[in-house]
Symmetry: C2
Subunit: 221 residues, 2 copies
């Protein structure tokens, strides 16, 4: 009896498109990073400060895909930078998928850019499961979220290339010990690179941009 495939695996389909994106990006020598974090953890503010430093250094060219359920507010906040920006509205979906990213690839001048930030929908959980074809995921958390998030939401920490710990300017007003947070990260993923930053004041952002530039200078085989 001929087997009929009734149910197609959503993640398998996603992974096929992700590989296509990855190949496309590698051919164009574009390093893509998938920024994942809760609503309000400061992903867009971090991008603003990061793009400012990248523009000042003038060593690499960046572009941004903005993922949001609704509105183009984040893209509008980045409009002041003279870089390519594409907004994806997921219209209810809780994460970007590889197909959404694939569908806007032709809207980006891949020959002219080195680094592509993909800011995912604000959600610490679901985006962790969806490969977009990026070089690496970056988890962004804010110190206001407490010390215990890595153990409570382990998957995104297991799947990320680095963690950015944002809003350090608020540490004096919080009952948070950043060393406890680091210990919590280590219980899930020992040695995961971490950058403590204040996207608002810029503190710590230079080391983070150094890491970004080092990624762009790495040539994948």
């Amino acid at each position: 009896m001929k087997e009929i495939k009734v149910f197609s695996n959503i993640l398998e389909a996603n992974d096929r498109l992700a590989e296509q994106n990855r190949k496309n990006l590698a051919e164009k020598k574009v390093t893509a990073l998938n920024l994942i974090g809760s609503p309000g953890c400061g992903k867009t503010t971090l991008l603003e400060n990061t793009l400012k430093i990248i523009a000042e250094r003038d060593e690499i060219k960046a572009a941004v895909i903005e993922g949001d359920i609704a509105t183009s507010r984040d893209a509008e906040r980045l409009r002041k930078f003279d870089i390519p920006i594409v907004q994806i509205n997921t219209e209810g979906a809780c994460h970007l998928d590889a197909g959404m990213v694939c569908s806007v690839m032709d809207d980006l001048p891949l020959d002219e850019i080195d680094l592509l930030f993909i800011e995912n929908v604000g959600n610490l959980v679901c985006p962790a499961d969806f490969d977009l074809g990026e070089r690496g995921k970056v988890v962004v958390i804010s110190v206001t979220e407490g010390e215990d998030k890595p153990q409570k939401y382990p998957e995104i920490f297991l799947n990320s290339a680095c963690v950015t710990v944002n809003k350090t300017d608020l540490l004096p007003y919080l009952d948070i010990d950043i060393e406890k947070l680091y210990n919590d990260i280590d219980t899930v993923r020992k040695g995961l690179p971490r950058y403590a930053v204040s996207a608002k004041t810029g503190e710590g952002c230079d080391a983070w941009v150094d890491w970004l530039e080092s990624l762009c200078n790495y040539a994948p085989s």
Copy 2:
């Protein structure tokens, strides 16, 4: 030709169990609230302060279902209160569903309680779609998340009975105008009841508990 139902609607199945939970809770005169918000918005701290006030007033009896992807840290934080607490670990799932709640209903002394808090997984997006059989959803946001979350994550605001705006103690250190946040709420859902609280200091929590008690005193027909 006989029709074969290949794909069962997940949300439809969920809704059937949610109605069963709702009927069960109504028979026992238990008001259930589904607390939804991002990781670190302060849902558990809000519960701690709320349960303290409820204990002091000694007018209603509360219980808690704690939903987390992993760990029982939140349930442990509430252990100091002499109330029934059940922990559900979703083991990766980004939201509670009605079946999970249904499966622990017999572990709660429904005859002895008036108010059941269901703290959902930290996620502002996916839990909005899943009816648990609650009387109402309560969206918890923190002022650290910015002024623009209602328009960016409209569904949970459209589906909630009230919004709790937490961490007001941090307002002096943030570039946040709470009136702008309220305006953003109104563009999505004009007049949605809102309680500005500091779960840490207790500021504003009494009005919120007044609202909770008023729900318990309402007799559904």
